[in-house]
């Protein structure tokens, strides 16, 4: 990126390109999905179903201990699937649970109940408050962890096809598949537009100029996306598409899948029973 920085381009364009290329690499690299780990080897349809089952167990639990156990399960699955633990924990906790933590902060203090901790200035953390806060926090974090695991360890292509197990209409799945494909195309186009614009800059543009250029780029991008989607439809028609897509299911259950499915089912049942 050195060349980019040395040109006198506005920082807007520079950073947009940086973000753009990060997205391109990270979003579509699917590097973790290609690793040789436990979850990567499981049939995607089964993963969808087991994730839903675990989400159910997490959200049905009335026991903090069970919730903690389920979080532990998520961590274990992550490790077994070659997902770096530190990365995984950061990924989960730094967003929704973090936000939830803030939402829930007052609950520590205002929920009536026996005192747990006496802080200076007469502020008291109640036992019930701490429990309520922990319930929400753990639930949110563990739910997010399970969802992230599913998405990290399955390539988008396979995951979308696997949604068919939920009886989503084939049309919807086809749309999602094509959407995935064209996000990248648009990213690429936007990147190219900015790069080409930048290569023609002589001096640093003013803020107003930058905004105008950005607005023009947005217009072009939108126009292009309309054009592309029209042509894609022609292309689909040309290859025989009528009104609903026919698909080929290449999923095959293997022994590992059956063991995994049984194990998760058992764990989920135990968790639900223990946490009732």
């Amino acid at each position: 990126m050195n060349k980019v920085h040395s040109r006198r381009a506005g920082f807007i364009e520079r950073t947009l390109i940086e973000i753009n290329s990060t997205l391109e690499q990270s979003v579509f690299a699917e590097s973790i999905a290609r690793r040789d780990g436990l979850l990567q080897s499981i049939d995607a349809r089964l993963k969808v179903l087991t994730t839903l089952l675990l989400l159910l167990a997490i959200n049905l639990s009335h026991s903090l201990a069970v919730l903690a156990g389920l979080y532990g399960l998520a961590l274990l699955l992550a490790i077994l699937s070659a997902v770096p633990a530190g990365f995984f924990i950061k990924r989960v906790w730094l967003f929704i649970p973090f936000f939830t933590g803030i939402v829930v902060l007052p609950v520590f203090f205002i929920t009536p109940g026996p005192a747990l901790v006496h802080l200076p200035l007469g502020v008291v953390i109640t036992q019930t408050g701490a429990q309520a806060a922990l319930f929400l926090l753990l639930r949110v974090a563990t739910s997010v962890s399970m969802a992230i695991l599913l998405v990290l360890c399955t390539s988008w292509n396979t995951l979308l096809k696997a949604l068919g197990v939920l009886r989503l209409p084939g049309v919807v799945i086809l749309i999602l598949e094509m959407t995935y494909r064209y996000i990248h195309l648009l990213l690429h186009t936007a990147n190219d537009m900015f790069l080409s614009r930048q290569s023609r800059l002589i001096r640093r543009p003013s803020g107003a100029e930058e905004r105008r250029m950005a607005a023009a780029n947005a217009g072009v991008l939108l126009g292009k996306s309309l054009q592309v989607s029209h042509d894609v439809y022609l292309s689909m028609q040309s290859r025989g598409f009528r009104s609903y897509p026919r698909t080929l299911d290449r999923f095959r259950l293997q022994k590992l899948d059956l063991w995994y499915g049984a194990a998760i089912l058992a764990l989920a049942i135990v968790a639900i029973w223990l946490g009732r």
Binding site: Q25, V107, R139, V171, A190
Partner: protein, 377 residues
């Protein structure tokens, strides 16, 4: 699960201060993540929203044709973008408008609900905003309550007023305001009943911990005062614009509430350009840093005050292996660009989704002339 009433006695002093903050904070959860609602509630919400989805899909199949579909896509995208406008609220957090009122007025509430649900689904899948079990509840609040209520108010007030009249503009504004506030009310109810219905033996809330007395005002008041006002104003302004510049778009929904053939060419290019401008303007929504909370690092500022897109984007980028970039970049500049890029992405994605969906439900091949005409407008 016992049904002992759960009474919250509000203690005085610092706890009250925190309570107020909590109340404002809860408003940021219009997109409800998993964990806030019990599975029973989530299931009930899915059951409630399903018939509306079915109705919307049925309407789409009946009435959709080459000219209407791009408009549907436009409104799904508008909805997506408007949801990114994070409006600063007291307490250092933000709420947002949805754009559902506008969609309901132009497309009719049935199809609008499909458009918004699509926007919500894309947010949930691509940006992780909104839970999976909670998708039914989110759709019900933002894709059913909002458009149907807005539409009802709009129709009730405008009655038989001519299509190009100020009465309709006012009706649209009020419809938008009422619709979003009602949606917020429903969300508040969904939150508020959790501690009442779902708690342990000693009264500890198991899900969202704030009872109705806190949750409802916490959701309704900030929306009524700010986010819904934005929704109303945006709806009214865009309707006024459509009255001036693109009347056929308004004629799509006649008194019977059915999406019909547009009377003349619908000038999409201008609407798309307006959308593009909106997208570029979204950084304005970023000017609400959460300084009330004291010293925070760049990321925290971004996730607290600046809405879900920068965090969603960072989440998306981190999701597949790249380290979090936020720590290296100066907060405002790059958050705003990540923001804009996400808006572009979301708009483009929705445009494609709907364009293609529209093609897919049709049985007839598009005649070349009709299609080309549309693209050149």
């Amino acid at each position: 699960m016992s049904f002992k009433p759960f009474r919250l006695r509000i203690p005085k002093g610092p706890a009250l201060y925190y309570l107020v903050f909590a109340a404002w904070l809860v408003t940021t959860a219009m997109h409800i993540p998993d964990g806030y609602l019990s599975p029973v509630t989530s299931a009930i919400m899915f059951v409630l929203v399903l018939p509306f989805w079915a109705l919307g899909v049925q309407k789409l199949r009946q009435k959709a044709n080459a000219r209407n579909i791009p408009l549907i896509a436009l409104f799904a995208a508008l909805s997506f973008v408007i949801m990114m406008f994070n409006v600063p609220l007291p307490g250092g957090t933000t709420g947002h408008a949805v754009g559902g009122a506008l969609a309901a007025i132009v497309l009719g509430p049935e199809i609008a609900s499909i458009a918004i649900s699509t926007a919500l689904a894309i947010q949930a899948i691509f940006f992780g905003d909104g839970g999976i079990l909670a998708f039914g509840a989110n759709s019900f609040n933002m894709a059913v309550v909002l458009p149907y209520i807005s539409y009802a108010i709009y129709q009730a007030i405008s009655r038989n007023a001519p299509l190009v009249s100020r009465r309709r503009i006012f009706a649209a504004g009020l419809g938008g305001w009422t619709g979003l506030t009602t949606a917020a009310f429903f969300a508040g109810v969904e939150f508020g009943i959790q501690p009442i219905l779902f708690h342990t033996a000693n009264g500890t809330p198991l899900y969202a911990p704030y009872p109705l007395a806190v949750a409802i005002p916490a959701m309704v008041v900030p929306h009524a005062l700010i986010a819904s006002v934005i929704e109303g104003v945006v709806t009214a302004l865009v309707l006024a614009y459509l009255q001036r510049a693109n009347q056929p778009a308004l004629e799509m929904v006649q008194k019977t509430g059915h999406v019909a053939e547009a009377a003349g060419p619908v000038r999409l290019r201008t609407l798309w350009f307006a959308l593009g401008v909106l997208v570029m303007a979204t950084p304005l929504g970023l000017l609400a840093p959460g300084t009330a909370w004291g010293e925070w690092g760049a990321t925290e500022l971004a996730s607290l005050g600046l809405g879900f897109i920068p965090e969603g984007l960072a989440r998306l980028s981190g999701l597949w292996g790249a380290p979090l970039r936020d720590y290296d970049l100066p907060a405002l500049g790059n958050a705003s660009l990540a923001y804009v890029l996400s808006a572009l992405l979301g708009v483009a994605v929705i445009a494609i989704v709907f364009w293609l969906f529209g093609m897919l439900v049709q049985r007839r091949a598009l005649a070349g002339v009709k299609v080309r005409k549309k693209l050149h407008e």
